[in-house]
Symmetry: C2
Subunit: 413 residues, 2 copies
């Protein structure tokens, strides 16, 4: 006897798909919340919810805490629908999580990895990890409805392939979607870049729930940006939106790996911070950095600069302030252009704490227009190291429910 | 006997509203076109169209030219629905047009005006013009369903008021919507800034029909930008999106009226071009400009610089190239961030022709990433001087049909 496994995506009428969208941002919701977000009447909301409950997609799961009065009943997705997987591939690590359709992580694994490996090797490992997580959870891999994958490079979203990825040239045009489809034929596979994934994670578990327009800025070896417009990722007409690392900050600055001079990334990201630190050590501006450099065999990392900052080292503080100011100057322009209500800063360098954040904020406030900054909040992301894998799960869920008759987001494969 | 006048907005189920959106972009459409844009099956498209025809909203109006095969029948809005008005208020002029619900202009008037006049005076003139256009057309003003108004300053879109408008301080917070509602109680009134209006005009009558993501750059006394995301104007979280005139291009540049140094507007817009031209004339770099300046009583206009360019005057050409390069450098950053497929240049300075356009293009191509520029088109807007009033009509039409149960875009007034 053949089991009746589900097939993703699940097709819904427009109004029911809209309910799914409210639900996805919060993981759970109530009827009054749906009415508030959609603007629907109580009657219409009830009708749509009932239809979804009848179909076995939604479940009434209990009462919400509320002070006095009638307690609205909580709505969640019915876990019997199946499972989703989030894969977060970083430059040096790999994280895979199996979750229920409500986005609750059931099993997870993180491993060191090197994206310079061939895609078959690294993605082959991912496939095996997914199989083993399913086994641990005691479920058939055929119950996996959707797999969301984040990769550290520019993605052509509709084709699901990397385009000219600087960190991983062998991955160019590798058919990631097909590779996973071979192992999990019933699953939907969605591929996106790491910063977009983080923006989705922010929307789910961060301070960005129900925020219409926000930016996530990732500062690490490079600098990238995830753009949320009306609660949806803006990927642009070629999928390259958010590539802010190569915006010019100084026409006479150093040459960037893209070939231009004075790109933000070349002047303010991790490697630039390292170079400035080495220079400060050599020029005798920082005793702390000089000692660290000697201990490290002539090298310094952003983490060394961070430690120096914590010790109150003036040269290190100046390096971080300079970096923050350059990032803030670029963000000021983007704030004038895009007028977001929130900017979330994340990535390795973002761990540097308040000196960086204050420098960024000052530059934005000084250079942006008052109307655009009155209600603007700039803060570190509160989602922490989980943002990547949570975002990948959200990516998997994002296309799980599609509107009846709509075009699929993805190409032919 | 009281006539049964229509009341805007007209409320439609989601799918029917989607048909309206396809129609609005092109003015007319066909069933195959609706299927193509929405991704619907032929059956579903036919069903939605039939429902709209039955309601008296759509009309089958004849056959489209087509080479061989069956000719798909054209669909347009039923003109019996009523009329709309577009009002385009510029710094020195005023244009009002009465159109049918298909956006075809029936009557129009343009007059000189001065936005430094009190809003009651200038908008009072607009109300009278609308009345007189309705009379000329022989219709009751009560048949006007919607009035779209473009103003040359920052607009809080949901409130329909100007916020800190530099050209027209007396207009701050003036209740424009209420003022028109008094005269036309049955009409919907929508207010937006001039560049957003132009972006809507571009979408209707320009090369931007069916383009998802594009920018309209207006270069005149100031520099502004209209942003189209997924075919909808992006106004940002405070309605200030697109205010690119105050993005910094030179930290040590001249002080701008916003108080900062080296804003794009202060360095590359009309007044900056005039100043550079006067300097070139005084320093003896251009005989042509010196003569014009003497003839003008010590003054020069951007138009003088334009004329000098046409005469091949090297100093004038250099002024235009410098301006274009600065605008292009800012656009390069926005292209990396936003990844539009089209940029349309418009406004008074845009009449300067190819020297300006070439300088802008060069700067963008040099500084943007290849993935973002491979398919990018940068050109002058082809809609010409009509863009404003056509856009205001499109604004009036944009909110005429609303989805059943959805929140109105506008506030309480």
């Amino acid at each position: 006897m053949k089991a009746d496994f589900p097939k993703a995506p699940l097709v819904l009428p427009a109004a029911e798909a809209e309910v799914m969208r409210v639900l996805r941002n919060n993981g759970q919701t109530t009827r009054p919340e749906i009415s508030r977000v959609t603007g629907w009447s109580r009657a219409k909301t009830s009708q749509e919810v009932s239809s979804l409950v009848k179909k076995g997609i939604l479940k009434d799961v209990g009462e919400e805490d509320s002070k006095g009065g009638r307690k609205p009943r909580l709505l969640r997705l019915n876990n019997h629908l199946g499972y989703v997987v989030g894969v977060d591939i970083g430059a040096t690590s790999l994280e895979v999580a199996l979750a229920d359709v409500n986005g609750q992580i059931l099993q997870r694994t993180a491993e060191p990895a090197d994206v310079r490996d061939a895609p078959e090797v690294l993605l082959g490992r991912c496939r095996k990890i997914i199989q083993s997580l399913a086994e641990k959870e005691g479920i058939s891999a055929q119950l996996i409805l959707s797999i969301g994958i984040g990769v550290p490079g520019p993605v052509n979203f509709s084709r699901g392939v990397l385009v000219a990825p600087p960190l991983m040239p062998d991955w160019e045009n590798f058919p990631i979607r097909l590779f996973f489809k071979e192992a999990f034929p019933s699953a939907l596979v969605v591929v996106d870049n790491d910063v977009n994934i983080m923006a989705l994670g922010e929307q789910r578990s961060g301070d960005a729930a129900n925020v219409d327009h926000f930016l996530v800025i990732k500062i690490g070896t490079g600098i990238g940006c995830g753009i949320m417009v009306n609660g949806k990722i803006h990927r642009g007409s070629d999928g390259s939106a958010g590539d802010i690392g190569h915006i010019c900050v100084d026409k006479s600055g150093p040459i960037c790996r893209c070939g231009n001079r004075g790109c933000l990334e070349a002047m303010a990201a991790g490697p630039a911070i390292e170079e400035s630190a080495i220079l400060a050590a050599k020029e005798g501006k920082s005793e702390f950095l000089r000692e660290r450099m000697e201990a490290n065999g002539g090298k310094l990392t952003p983490e060394d600069v961070n430690m120096a900052c914590r010790e109150g080292d003036e040269a290190a503080l100046e390096i971080i302030r300079t970096s923050g100011k350059m990032i803030g100057d670029v963000l000021a322009g983007l704030v004038n252009f895009f007028n977001p209500s929130h900017i979330f800063i994340t990535g390795g360098i973002a761990n540097f704490g308040n000196h960086l954040l204050i420098a960024i904020k000052r530059a934005v406030l000084r250079r942006s227009l008052p109307l655009a900054t009155t209600n603007l909040s700039i803060n570190f992301s509160a989602t922490g190291p989980d943002a990547g894998v949570v975002g990948a799960i959200m990516l998997a869920l994002e296309y799980l429910f599609v509107v009846e008759g709509s075009k699929p987001y993805y190409g032919s494969s």
